[in-house]
């Protein structure tokens, strides 16, 4: 399973942008809607009153940290805001803004000996109310080391300063203002400089115009657009509350801020209340707070380790603990998935991140179900491994689509899509599950040979017998290495047969959808081609087992490994490296 993140990273590193001539042309609505980081492009007044631009009034780091600790922004968290094509809550906007600007989940700075991490919502508001504070703070995150180094080298002549600043992973707005144009001029047009410069430009745009995104005034009807907070009448209660909040904030008056926040939170939903969202806001806040996918991979990890230790030690309490942890992990994972579906108002499997969370949920769910039905903990371990590796990759490897956005129009107008994508994702999940089973097979096969190549009875003494017993719920006395391998072969085939069927049906459903939507059932789009290649690998597995039954378990395990690599390529590589009609997949 380590292959998954490595594969993704490889694809990103290669970054090739192959061109192709397609048999089909993508229809309107096939492309992902363009991301709109700033809701209002034109200059707009600050809803929190004139920002502080006087350097003398910039608070100290300690004062800022004290204010952050004293204010209570909870009333504001679930206020609705229209951004990037959908109505979300302010907490989400803050998280997205900070992530996009700093490259991290929270903006952090050292105050004395300790590091203070600011709540994203605090940072979002502070950027609009007191932007001067950040002029010399490293808040513009730059991933690309060469770009960061180029700016820091220009800003700091001293090598020690350069090393220190490089570690922050970010540069200050002042650095960008002074040296950004020079560096851009020197490297524009070169990849990967151009991409990094573009991302930095976007982050700087967010810094400069963060107040443009407070589009928080509900419209009178669905067809009308939401309005910016600063376009409210100056005498309206909400507008006054926002101004008061800004004034108190600049004065360092936490109590004033808290009082104004409560007023603002009370007033905004009163404007066109019939259009103001209600229940979704709470779910979105719960989704943000639960952070289900990150906690999920930790729970899967614990479950996996516990179950592996259970196999090795033969302790049943460890197996029970592992299984319980697995069920809890699946539950948490399912909560995250369902909440995201509700927030996005669609079946949330329409981008890379969502499909990863979906497929790992399906795989973990199926693995857990088989584990419980057959009382074979092996399936639980495989499920935990898949859940852990896929979720950690999805949340930690910069997979696109982490933020909930509107997706390509063509995906939202067909019921067939849900069946096609779901079936294919189930098959991918099962392929991953089958691969883990095959890894167990290969591990057992070669471990057995390495630790006791002579005979099966020794294996039993080495613990493989008990492992088999744990895996299949059998009597340890009758277990042998051959029995263990036979059981593991059965296990991998149970999963792989299901994967083969679901992948085949998924491809056929895709062909049906393509015929309906693109006018051609099969166009040899790279995604189609590679899904077929993956299917053919499992077709070969089935036929090889018939043609060469002697070492069919070992052959199956190796072919399952190959099939898994092919699936990874189909899943990540094709998306990133081979352009095609499955632009959104």
């Amino acid at each position: 399973m380590l292959l998954a993140p490595i594969f993704f990273a490889l694809c990103v590193v290669l970054g090739l942008d192959a061109a192709s001539s397609r048999g089909q042309t993508p229809p309107a609505g096939n492309a992902h809607p363009q991301t709109q980081l700033l809701s209002v492009e034109e200059n707009i007044s600050n809803p929190f009153g004139p920002a502080n631009s006087d350097a003398a009034k910039v608070p100290t780091r300690e004062a800022k940290a004290l204010l952050a600790a004293a204010v209570d922004l909870d009333p504001l968290r679930d206020l609705a805001v229209f951004h990037n094509g959908r109505v979300k809550i302010l907490d989400t906007l803050a998280r997205e803004t900070v992530q996009r600007m700093t490259g991290r989940k929270k903006y952090a700075e050292r105050t004395g000996e300790s590091t203070y991490k600011y709540e994203p919502l605090f940072t979002l508001l502070d950027l609009s109310i007191d932007p001067a504070y950040y002029a010399d703070k490293p808040i513009i995150g730059i991933d690309y080391l060469n770009l960061r180094r180029a700016l820091i080298d220009l800003a700091y002549p001293d090598e020690a300063d350069q090393k220190r600043e490089l570690k922050s992973g970010a540069v200050t707005p002042l650095m960008l203002q002074r040296f950004g144009a020079r560096v851009a001029q020197a490297h524009m047009g070169e990849e990967p400089w151009a991409r990094a410069l573009n991302e930095t430009d976007q982050a700087a745009g967010l810094f400069i115009k963060s107040q443009a995104n407070f589009v928080m005034v509900a419209p009178p009807e669905r067809t009308a657009a939401w309005d910016h907070l600063s376009r409210l009448d100056p005498s309206s209660p909400a507008r006054r509350a926002a101004k008061d909040l800004g004034a108190a904030w600049r004065a360092g008056d936490a109590a004033g801020v808290n009082a104004a926040a409560v007023r603002l939170a009370a007033e905004l939903p009163k404007i066109n209340p019939e259009m103001y969202p209600t229940s979704h806001r709470g779910i979105e806040l719960a989704y943000n707070r639960a952070n289900a996918f990150e906690w999920g991979y930790w729970m899967y990890c614990l479950s996996l380790i516990t179950l592996l230790l259970a196999f090795g030690t033969g302790r049943r309490w460890l197996a029970a603990t592992g299984a319980t942890l697995l069920v809890l992990a699946v539950g948490l994972h399912a909560f995250g998935f369902v909440a995201r579906c509700i927030i996005a108002e669609r079946f949330a499997i329409q981008n890379q991140f969502e499909s990863m969370t979906g497929l790992s949920l399906f795989a973990a769910g199926v693995g857990t179900a088989i584990m419980l039905a057959r009382r074979q903990w092996l399936f639980g371990a495989a499920a935990a491994a898949v859940g852990f590796m896929v979720l950690i990759t999805a949340t930690q490897a910069g997979i696109p689509g982490v933020h909930v956005e509107r997706e390509a129009a063509i995906l939202n107008t067909s019921i067939l899509l849900k069946y096609h994508v779901t079936t294919v994702l189930v098959s991918y999940g099962l392929i991953a599950l089958g691969f883990v089973c095959s890894l167990f097979y290969l591990g057992s096969y070669y471990w057995g040979r390495a630790t006791a190549p002579a005979a099966a009875p020794t294996l039993s003494a080495a613990g493989a017998g008990e492992l088999s017993a744990m895996a299949v719920g059998d009597d340890p006395q009758t277990s042998t290495r051959a029995k263990l391998l036979a059981d593991l072969d059965t296990a991998q085939m149970i999963v792989l047969q299901l994967a083969f069927w679901t992948l085949g049906v998924g491809i056929l459903l895709g062909a049906w959808w393509a015929d309906h939507s693109w006018g051609r059932w099969w166009g040899f789009d790279p995604k189609e081609t590679w899904a077929l290649i993956t299917w053919i690998i499992y077709l070969i597995v089935i036929h090889v087992r018939v043609a060469a039954p002697a070492r069919k378990g070992l052959t199956t395990a190796w072919l399952s490994t190959l099939g898994f690599i092919m699936m990874l390529w189909t899943y990540f590589g094709v998306n990133l490296l081979l352009p095609g009609l499955h632009a959104y997949a």
């Binding site: 290669l14 090739l16 942008d17 192959a18 061109a19 192709s20 001539s21 397609r22 048999g23 089909q24 042309t25 229809p27 309107a28 609505g29 809607p33 094509g85 109505v87 070169e190 669905r222 067809t223 009308a224 657009a225 592996l308 230790l309 090795g312 302790r315 509107r406 129009a409 063509i410 107008t413 067909s414 630790t451 080495a462 613990g463 008990e466 047969q497 299901l498 083969f500 069927w501 085949g504 049906v505 056929l508 049906w512 015929d515 309906h516 939507s517 006018g519 059932w521 040899f524 789009d525 790279p526 077929l532 290649i533 053919i536 070969i540 090889v544 043609a547 094709v574 490296l577 352009p579």
Partner: protein
């Protein structure tokens, strides 16, 4: 091996013997084998890889394998000794403790090893394309072919669909199907328990047959429907014009209009897609080639192309004229070249070469020119060239750009550090005498012109005219301009536009206004002559005053210093800067403009438009015999995606005998069988609150064509949306019962004349513009002026679907029902054996 396979082998042993039948036996045995199926499937996989993965990426595989191997070696080097050690140390401990110790050591060893590799090995191996440091096998090859799949190479030039329809894959798949049929018949018993695998295999055969039928008759493309005129009362569009054809997705055609007989379509075959062929094709000697002008893709000019344009029945092309495709530029912009004309045709052309004695990056000094410029001096727009550093101009004496007066002005000496200067001349009595002075100027300068009474104020000094020059003969030309205010001794002040390059078109703008509010213009008042001298960069003026080919030159350095060279012999050089010189090259007495492709470098190409012909140009040669002599002419045609709708890319070949051919290169047009489609209205449906587009809908009307009473359906309207295509001519009519609809639906599923129209594109700009008008209260509703529908027939799709369904149903039978049936049968046998009632089956 199954019983049936054994029986089949036994039959073979018995019947397929002897020297004649033995080879048959081998073939039958091979076709019945599963190994062959596995080999064929593997070949299919390899074929798919070759079609979709760029060659450069495939070549990169060994590099990444070695990267991986290095990581495994480091991780193994750390882990294996630790593993062996811990196994020895824990030899006598209990199994759980031993397992935990081993597990931890393995985990820590592998992670630690990988961390070490990441810290110490990877930085050495990692390849940086910008510095070319690090380890990468075949780095140059990878870089060159990083975007190129096998099918894009010259000689193959296939789209994805064409590559997959190529014979090698057909042979593989056909052999696979035959293999499967043989293996099924000879190895699998036709029993209930085997229904699953038999269904799957039958499904594959049905799907394959359906695909053959489908591929043979498939047509696809798109069509563009225009909206009708807007009703000012309602703001809605009226019914749009009828559309009775669509543009093919992949096939292209040459359209010819000979003698205004109307356009006729000549389908083209084997036209390339990705590579340039003979991009240097011209009608005669070319200035680009003569001047050895460096072009991107120039190395591909040698790649030949010669595809005759097949004649069609009743063609209006004169029988003595034949057309041939002789060049193709895959991704290019039109550029202007000059070709040598016959005597009396076109204008003279002079080549000028720029030489540098400065060493290049490697320290070499070359005698070859570093740049070539060619000047058609009779064309004001083309006789000047340059950049921000220098400017060159080539004139032909008084007849074309260099009057003695201008020569005299340009040779005036200027004070040091002058950037701009005005030469002012005021005729004075007696005739033939005049006041003349040179004034260095800048914006705001105020000049008193001697004692003539004239005063001049400099208002603007512009590098380009404030308005485009529209004087006949000068369209497209550009020049720096001084806008000066002239106050005559006894009169009203007026403005004068003083052109540096074209003093003959200087103009006065009077205070008096025309009815439209613009100032009255007139030719420059001869009572005062003003000319502009520029010295803000290096200016070189080359002039050919006589007909003997001798050239003279003025070199004006930045800051004003001037050097006049009165005679330069053809082929000789003169220095314009330190170690930089110009050489006067060949002179063609006549040359004509020739439009030809200028290939766009790969990094500037739009990736999703590569291989679509979208930015391509096609060279067509017309050949005939005139006056007993063979005559050929080449013309380059830019591609037209929507011929007849979008901007015209029509080009003309004029034959010397007065005949002409209009040509266009575009997508093949196919007729809609028996019906037309018209656009009634279009709407983009956004998410709530004007979020991203959620759907698009075109309301269209399908109208039968042909003689009255012959139509097989009545006119109907349909709302075409994403995922809700229009079916025509058959459509499920809710007014009729399903028993009437169904047979026609089934027939339509097999018919190549049944089409499907899906929403594919729309007038986004028009919609956004009119939406803005609506927001401003200037329009009633947003309007799209056109919609694009994807068009395709689907012959045999039901067969394909049937095959797919059989596969989908057969697999679970084979995997889940069959084992259950086998287990049930086993149990029955065991029970029968236990009861003593079991009898073995007779074979």
């Amino acid at each position: 091996m199954s019983d049936k396979a054994r029986r089949s082998n036994a039959w073979d042993d018995q019947h397929l013997r002897g020297p004649v039948l033995y080879p048959v036996r081998l073939v039958v045995k091979a076709l019945s084998s599963i190994s062959l199926a596995v080999c064929l499937l593997s070949l299919t996989v390899l074929y798919g890889i070759s079609a979709s993965v760029p060659v450069g990426l495939l070549v990169l595989a060994p590099t990444y394998l070695l990267y991986g191997l290095s990581a495994v070696l480091v991780a193994g080097g750390v882990t294996i000794p630790a593993f062996v050690g811990v196994r020895r140390l824990t030899r006598n401990t209990q199994r759980p403790a031993r397992f935990i110790a081993t597990f931890v050591v393995l985990l820590v060893g592998i992670m630690g090893g990988l961390a070490l590799w990441r810290m110490f090995v990877w930085p050495q191996l990692r390849y940086d394309p910008t510095t070319q440091e690090g380890f990468r096998l075949f780095a140059g090859f990878v870089e060159r072919y990083k975007n190129i799949t096998l099918r894009r190479l010259p000689g193959i030039e296939m789209s994805e669909l064409e590559y997959y329809a190529w014979w090698p894959l057909r042979v593989i798949l056909l052999t696979f199907v035959v293999n499967m049929v043989f293996a099924t018949v000879r190895r699998i018993d036709f029993t209930v328990r085997n229904i699953g695998v038999l269904t799957v295999h039958t499904g594959i055969v049905v799907l394959a047959l359906g695909s053959v039928y489908y591929a043979g008759l498939k047509q696809e493309g798109d069509t563009l429907l225009l909206a009708g005129a807007i009703d000012p009362r309602t703001g809605n569009p009226s019914v749009g014009p009828p559309q009775d054809m669509f543009y093919d997705n992949t096939r292209v055609a040459l359209f010819v209009n000979a003698g205004n007989e109307g356009w006729e379509q000549h389908p083209l075959h084997d036209i390339p897609r990705y590579n340039n062929y003979n991009v240097g094709a011209t009608s005669g000697a070319s200035a680009w080639a003569t001047g050895k002008l460096k072009q991107p893709g120039a190395e591909e000019t040698e790649r030949e192309l010669s595809l005759p344009v097949a004649p069609i029945p009743n063609s209006s092309i004169p029988p003595d004229v034949s057309l041939r495709v002789v060049g193709y530029a895959a991704y290019a912009e039109p550029g202007t070249d000059w070709v040598k004309g016959t005597t009396g045709q076109g204008d003279p052309l002079r080549f000028v070469y720029l030489h540098s004695q400065l060493p290049d990056d490697e320290g070499h000094i070359s005698d070859d020119p570093i740049y070539t410029v060619f000047f058609p001096p009779r064309s004001p727009a083309d006789r000047i060239t340059g950049n921000d550093v220098f400017s060159l101009e080539y004139t032909l004496g008084a007849g074309a750009g260099m009057t003695p007066q201008r020569w005299k002005d340009l040779t005036e000496t200027l004070p040091p550090r002058t950037m701009h200067a005005l030469v002012v001349e005021v005729p004075q009595p007696p005739p033939g005498t005049s006041f003349r002075a040179v004034y260095p100027v800048q914006i705001g300068s105020a000049l008193t012109i001697g004692d003539t009474g004239f005063r001049i104020g400099v208002k603007q000094l512009e590098p380009t005219p404030p308005f485009p020059i529209i004087t006949d003969g000068y369209r497209g030309a550009t020049s720096s301009v001084a806008v000066v205010s002239i106050t005559p001794p006894n009169g009203e002040a007026y403005d004068r536009y003083v052109y540096h390059r074209f003093p003959e078109i200087n103009q006065d703008l009077l205070k008096e206004l025309k009815p439209n509010g613009q100032p009255v213009r007139r030719d420059a008042d001869p009572s005062i002559r003003v000319s502009l001298i520029e010295a803000d960069q290096l200016y070189v003026y080359m002039d050919e005053p006589g007909s003997d080919g001798t050239t003279r030159a003025i070199v004006r350095q930045k800051g004003g210093a001037v050097k006049v060279i009165d005679s330069i012999a053809p082929g000789s050089r003169f220095e314009v800067l330190d170690k930089v010189s110009l050489r006067i090259g060949e002179r063609w007495p006549s040359a004509v403009k020739f439009e030809r492709p200028r290939p766009v470098p790969p990094e500037e190409q739009k990736k999703d438009e590569v291989g679509t012909h979208q930015h391509s140009m096609l060279a067509v040669e017309a050949a005939t015999t005139i006056g007993g002599r063979p005559y050929t002419q080449v013309v380059w045609l830019p591609f037209s995606r929507y011929m007849g709708v979008m901007a015209s890319n029509q080009r003309r070949i004029d034959l010397p005998d007065g005949r002409s051919l209009d040509l266009m290169f575009g997508r093949l047009q196919r007729p809609l069988p028996g019906f037309q489609v018209r656009l009634l209205d279009f709407e983009m449906i956004a998410y709530d609150h004007r979020g991203a587009p959620r759907d698009y809908q075109s309301i269209v009307r399908v109208v039968p064509t042909g003689a009255p009473g012959t139509a097989r359906f009545e006119m109907f309207d349909h709302v075409t949306k994403l995922n809700s295509p229009l079916q025509a001519p058959f459509h499920w009519d809710d007014q009729r019962n399903w028993l009437t609809n169904l047979p026609e639906r089934l027939v339509a599923g097999m018919s190549p004349f049944q089409f499907k129209f899906s929403q594919a594109g729309w007038d986004q700009q028009g919609w956004a513009r009119t939406q803005a008008q609506v927001d401003a209260g200037q329009a009633k509703r947003p309007i799209a002026s056109f919609t694009i529908l994807q068009v395709g027939n689907n012959p045999g799709i039901h067969l394909i679907a049937a095959g797919g369904i059989m596969m989908g149903l057969g697999i679970p039978w084979a995997f889940y029902l069959k084992p259950w049936l086998v287990r049930r049968e086993k149990r029955r046998i065991q029970e029968a054996v236990a009861a003593g009632t079991w009898k073995p089956p007779h074979k």
